[in-house]
Symmetry: C2
Subunit: 692 residues, 2 copies
């Protein structure tokens, strides 16, 4: 309150207002200058952080400076069960389950309070606490009260012009499915005490130190496109924020930024988010995979229930159990299992983490290989078929021999055989025999990859190219996303692609395609892909770059990058599109940097669109830090930290020694005619000249 | 009450008990001799009928005769909202929606009562009334009371040995979505008065007269198998009872005999039940098709909602709106539209009902032809494909080019073009142009019929034969029906057939297959068909007979025939399997009688298994009555009523003149090795020697 008038920017006069996210400091700062309806002016500056180093701590520094002589009252609250906005009918938004917390206790604590609640349906216990440090120039009144779902600290003081009042709020959370009320209460009190010991400045310093270390192996610099420059750092910052302390919990599709998809995680965590973490903050990727491995028993039960061997991991989950109620797009999307295997193989390849490979990766690979072996079967000609499954594209379902699924399954099967061959004793402990390993290699070798000779392209699944094309010409722009306007019956039976499927297969299993096939496939699927999923643009950017559509790649990069910063799908209120943010990094590092792994060797095929004059990115790789700096003609490779290592530059080996730069020329890109997208679904025009 | 002791056969002594259904009289008689726990003996004889001639009347004659001197109290009730047994978890049983009637009024009326209720959700109004005629030897006390959901007439009398008490109960029903409470009240009072005017004897006589007329054009006599003899008459009786007064309401899958499938009707009404009615009581078939036609507007809306032209009729419905919540097995089962067309074409062919053809059949055929034309599309080679639909077999879904669907759609398209060609003015009124008719013929001519050259058989849908076979060997008998024990995910992706699909196509569109293809196809699908649907056996019997598996045909005939009489699926409590009952007639008349239509000519190819020594059936055909009597060597054709007509006997024309018998020799049947069924799913062994 400013002289009894609530501070509300919709009333009075907002003289100035700025909110800035400092991605290096890890803090969000708001500076406001406001004149109340009664003419009293104040300056407010708040800085807030969610600590990346103190596991359960968030903190806010809130300062009010009087411009005029005024009475100021500042209230700090802790509120449970605050009601959400009305239910959205978009199936991608969260289900409204009503007030979900049942109060157990609410007590004042020092200059703050502690609350303990349990979740209504799942019975999880959650404690939250707050404490405050107060600074004010003279006399002040402080009230602390706490009851039910609300706790409140009220600070009232009189400020003369130029005088300042400051409230530092520390907030701690803790939860458990097993610990008692008093244990959780103790836990948040202890966390608050630990945070007090660090103090505000200590929390800010720790935050900066953590992020400095992160950026030293992760930063991406983009010359010539300030919007994308900002966006890729935003993307990396959001990913590290979602993942750094997820520990052995899933990384949800929205991180912790909104209620969309009910906090569930999907396969895109493994395929989009984990590769970024693997090369920038590998410990977080390992943790996410350890979480998956912790759900192995549930996945094994799921496989058994489906009449299959091994483990069938959940396509949509928070606890390991399948949360998708629509099986054609959930359970049948078995590729999630090969996606997990892909993430585990990539993590081990990029880190050389042998303990993880033995303890976590091998059980995952073996269980999923067994799944594939029982899900598929050899036909009379000896081909290994996987029928009746759903690939990444959710506008097709229950198809036979989806190319993405089959290629990823083959990698999964071979990967399992290889790891079992490396750690024979441990593999024997899982019951793996030489015969079983041979049957995995055999299935992988014989896997069916349908090819349409007439069109010279790969159908994304068998018979896909026989189906009618969607009527793109008569589908108005208001009919997108199609899933909200057309029945799945209609979508499933036509050639229309929600998100990269065959194109994603070309990114992740590029060696299975010739360059000519890649080019033809890419152009064919461009005409069918409506990008009703935000997962799509990043992948299309990577493959557009590989096949030589450089400007199109840049447009897709921008779409992925600006998905949330410009709220392109009008649903950022439900939370950030974490996989699309990851797609920004994919587009830059895998697209224009050409990062791949070829036979276990880190490989780059840099190529830039004309509109980007320079690209420089840092990576962590097997205990080293690398930097790749690309301009129109050259790529310069540097080993920033660690022992010498060789990488590939456009297929040629380059040895990187400490302190030396290896510069290589870029081959010329053969530019190709820009392919067509479905009407109304061209990527939004991007003008890289404009500032962020 | 017999001397204060309730008559309950679970107590006291049941000296004798017999319940008999007289299918010629249309009455159900129960005769009981019972000694009460206190030693008083009575004889009870009840006769009941649901009138086939008095639209809304049922009646019961209830007689009690004293053996010992005794006091007898008889109560007759009308009860609404009687609670059903606990909910069954079988998805095929009815959903329990709790008490569904809301009382509006309950009043005594003469020696009885009238009640009016409305249905809770749909707001339909229902009136029920009862009245009684009482006869007793001496003094009696009569109470009539009515309140809420119960009305009761109590008759108390003293009977000396040999004395008899009789209560004739008349019951009337009426319902309406629009009429007022008093109008419905009046309606049942009027119906009761009308029934009183006829009296019990008049009702019984009318019932017999109606059924005499029915049997004169419908009876089937089977020599050598008393069980099947009884069963086929039971089947015909149940069908006429379900259909005779359905008028323009659907004929439910269970008729009116039980709550299974919630009273809904499905496609099997048109494919199984209507052909029987078409040849035995054609007016009922016409009424059922007029009901379908009355839902045309709903079906057109449904098509529009799916982005299609014409009309998409409901797969499961009671009012015309789709009631199946699971679209892969409901909405996607578009064949229902061609099934309706088949029934309409067959009805017109069998009756020559020109008015019906113009007014009812043509709008149905045109609307469904337009559906097929928009659902399918020509591919680059000019073939007409219908992708992403579900055929009759519910263990596959969302497949491409289902043979049954495509053949039936082709007939539908050609049928629409033909009828529009016959009635050009009326067709023009529906907007049909010569171009549109040409496009129908064109699509029908080019329809894709997949064929597997390797196996020399037709896959039921494209790629079906590439799929893994179900693991029949390891599936125990307790795992059937599979739908209750395995996820659809697993069923859909394997070669396992719930019910005749390709085999039904061979019955209904036999001209599309060579005899050799039929034989190979039949044997192939025998190995895969588990008959988890009661629709299957009748069809398998027909085609087994056609391809020469005569004993197997007899076994399947028996399975269809005894489905309910022997409660083979343990669910007759949910109601009769009306389509399976129809399948009994199909097996005999279409299987052993070989009834088909060839180019508009009624055709027979009689052949009997050794175990059936004679088969004689009557038919109605274009205003005539025909009889076909078959023994081991000959078939004798007789025209019982009407003008001379020609039919085909094994492809050769036979002219039938009034009063003359045309006898023809039967060709020899080449017997073939009996095919295998899935383990545990052989048809139950049938011993025709045993009595019924």
């Amino acid at each position: 309150l400013v002289d009894d008038e609530p501070f509300d920017v919709r009333y009075g006069q907002l003289v100035s207002h700025e909110r800035s996210l400092d991605m290096r400091a890890g803090t969000l700062t708001r500076q406001v200058r406001w004149r109340s309806p009664t003419g009293r002016e104040v300056r407010i500056r708040s800085v807030r952080l969610v600590s990346l180093t103190h596991r359960s701590i968030a903190a806010i520094s809130y300062e009010v400076e009087a411009v005029d002589d005024t009475r100021v009252v500042v209230q700090s609250e802790l509120v449970a069960n605050e009601s959400l906005p009305g239910r959205d009918r978009d199936p991608r938004a969260a289900a409204d389950i009503g007030p979900s917390l049942v109060g157990e206790e609410t007590l004042t604590h020092r200059c703050g309070a502690v609350m303990v609640h349990t979740t209504r349906l799942s019975g999880l216990r959650l404690a939250a606490g707050m404490d405050h440090d107060l600074e004010q120039p003279g006399h002040a009144v402080v009230d602390v009260d706490a009851q039910g779902d609300i706790a409140r600290v009220t600070l009232a003081a009189r400020l003369r012009p130029g005088e300042r009042l400051r409230m530092v709020k520390l907030v701690a959370y803790g939860w458990s499915a097993r610990r008692s009320r008093s244990a959780l209460h103790d836990q948040v009190v202890a966390a608050l005490a630990g945070a007090r010991e660090s103090g505000w400045d200590g929390l800010v310093d720790d935050q900066r130190e953590f992020l400095d270390e992160f950026w030293s192996g992760a930063d991406v610099e983009v010359d010539g496109d300030a919007q994308v420059q900002q966006a890729v750092r935003f993307a990396l910052f959001q990913m590290i924020q979602a993942a750094a302390r997820a520990e052995q919990r899933p990384i949800p599709a929205k991180g912790l930024t909104g209620p969309g998809y009910d906090g569930h995680t999907f396969w895109d965590s493994e395929i989009y988010v984990l590769p970024v973490l693997t090369y920038t903050h590998p410990a977080a990727a390992a943790d996410a995979l350890r979480w998956r491995a912790s759900t192995l028993a549930v996945a094994e039960d799921n496989a058994t229930g489906l009449g299959l061997e091994g483990a069938a991991f959940a396509w949509r989950t928070i606890s390991g159990a399948e949360c998708s109620g629509y099986w054609p797009a959930g359970t049948a999307a078995f590729h999630v299992n090969a996606d997990i295997a892909d993430a585990a193989i990539r993590y081990v390849e990029a880190t050389g983490d042998v303990e993880f490979e033995k303890d976590t990766s091998m059980p995952l690979l073996v269980a999923t290989a067994r799944l594939w072996r029982s899900l598929g079967q050899h036909d009379m000609e000896g081909n290994f078929r996987i029928d009746g499954v759903t690939g990444p594209d959710e506008y097709s379902a229950i198809a036979d021999n989806n190319v993405y699924t089959n290629l990823m399954a083959a990698q999964n099967l071979v990967g399992a055989a290889e790891v079992a061959g490396r750690y024979r004793a441990q593999a024997a402990g899982l019951g793996v025999t030489a015969e079983e390993m041979a049957s995995w290699r055999d299935a992988a070798h014989a896997i069916v990859i349908p090819y349409d000779e007439r069109l010279g392209i790969h159908p994304q699944s068998e018979r896909f190219t026989d189906h009618a094309r969607w009527e793109f010409e008569s589908t108005g722009p208001e009919k997108y996303p199609l899933l909200l306007h057309f029945p799945y019956f209609n979508l499933y039976r036509k050639q229309v692609v929600k998100q990269a499927d065959l194109v994603l297969a070309m990114q992740l299993r590029g060696e299975a395609f010739t360059p000519e096939q890649k080019a033809r496939n890419f152009d064919y699927y461009e005409e069918l892909t409506v990008r009703d999923s935000s997962l799509s643009a990043g992948t299309q950017a990577v493959m557009a770059a590989e096949v030589g559509h450089m400007d199109l790649a840049h447009d897709y990069l921008a779409e992925a990058a600006l998905m949330d910063l410009q709220d392109l799908e009008n649903n950022t209120r439900d939370g950030l599109h974490l996989a699309s943010l990851a797609g920004t990094w994919h587009a830059l590092v895998m697209g224009f940097g050409g990062l791949r792994t070829e036979k276990g060797v880190l490989s780059f095929s840099p190529r830039l669109p004309e509109s980007i004059t320079g690209l420089c990115f840092k990576l962590r790789y097997r205990g080293r830090r690398l930097e790749v700096a690309i301009d129109a003609d050259h790529a310069a490779y540097r080993l920033l930290e660690g022992e010498a290592v060789s990488v590939l530059h456009h297929g040629t080996s380059v040895r990187l020694d400490p302190g030396q730069e290896a510069s290589r020329r870029l081959p010329r890109i053969r530019s190709r005619p820009r392919p067509q997208q479905p009407k109304h679904r061209e990527p939004p025009p991007h003008h890289p000249g404009e500032g962020a």
